[in-house]
Symmetry: D2
Subunit: 99 residues, 4 copies
């Protein structure tokens, strides 16, 4: 990323995020294996819940970084940009809560 | 905003919030009536989902007000207070997402 | 309810359900008091999460009773009625999961 | 699997399930690409919500198959086995609702 500062708040934790997402990818492949081997549905469902929770933790962390980065920056500048960032973050939160 | 500014961002929508909460209270009493009259479980469950969604909308609105009020104010002041407000809001969001 | 058997599985736990719903109603009135007294938004949100979880527990219990009552009965009779009950229960579950 | 009937209700839709899970795996890899290319956090979050919903749909379908298969069979046999299957399914539903 050269000398320029990273564009978004989450970049400095990029490696950590990629590691988590690769683990989630592994869990999804594990689900395929379970289905392929005709594992008991309840066990498959338990594993799906684990993947869902892992995705949820990932998005909550991403959201916190976004708020302490982009949102705080925009709020410090104030005005319309702050309002827009808050509105955008609120909509993302609503999607998370409802999904 | 005269001398006595309201303590929190949501105060100016207080009447609106109280109206919503009274409607939710009415829905919960409606649930009691359904159970008391031995209504079909699936119909009771449908009504519980409606109450849950109403509570969810209420909390998403409250959260947006909190962010455009307290969080933006703290962010504008910056420093530790901003960090603390973001952390606190993030934890509230996590509770919402997980409940 | 005279001599006739109660129409739905949850009836024998009616008192228990009504007690829970009255407690939830009390929690919703508590929320109104908090808003009325301008309590801090985060504290209001924490309380909303508690009400949501209480409603969720109520509906999960109702659903389990429905399944061990109506669904098991229909399944024992088999045929189209069993299919219809399973479909209906699945749709109620989907509403719960998505709300 | 020879001539024997498949052990669980979902087996006859195995190909369909595997196709869905491979699509979800592709979505998770898409998330890695987004993070790797420093995409805007809100866009990443939107995509995470899409994956969560896809997993949710998958588990709701799996659950319905389980209920119209294993649960109905056990219910038709009745007794303790029916009770155990209902309890097990209810716990899986609670995990889904709470995750």
């Amino acid at each position: 990323m050269s000398g320029a500062s990273p564009p978004h708040g989450y970049t400095h934790r990029k490696d950590d995020h990629l590691k988590r997402l690769r683990r989630i990818e592994g869990q999804v492949r594990g689900l395929q294996r379970m289905v392929d081997e005709d594992k008991y549905c309840i066990d498959v469902l338990t594993q799906v819940s684990a993947v869902t929770r892992a995705l949820q933790s990932f998005s909550l962390e991403l959201l916190e970084e976004h708020m302490s980065g982009c949102v705080v920056d925009a709020a410090a500048r104030g005005g319309e940009e702050a309002d827009a960032k808050i509105k955008e973050a609120s909509q993302a939160i609503a999607r998370l809560v409802r999904s």
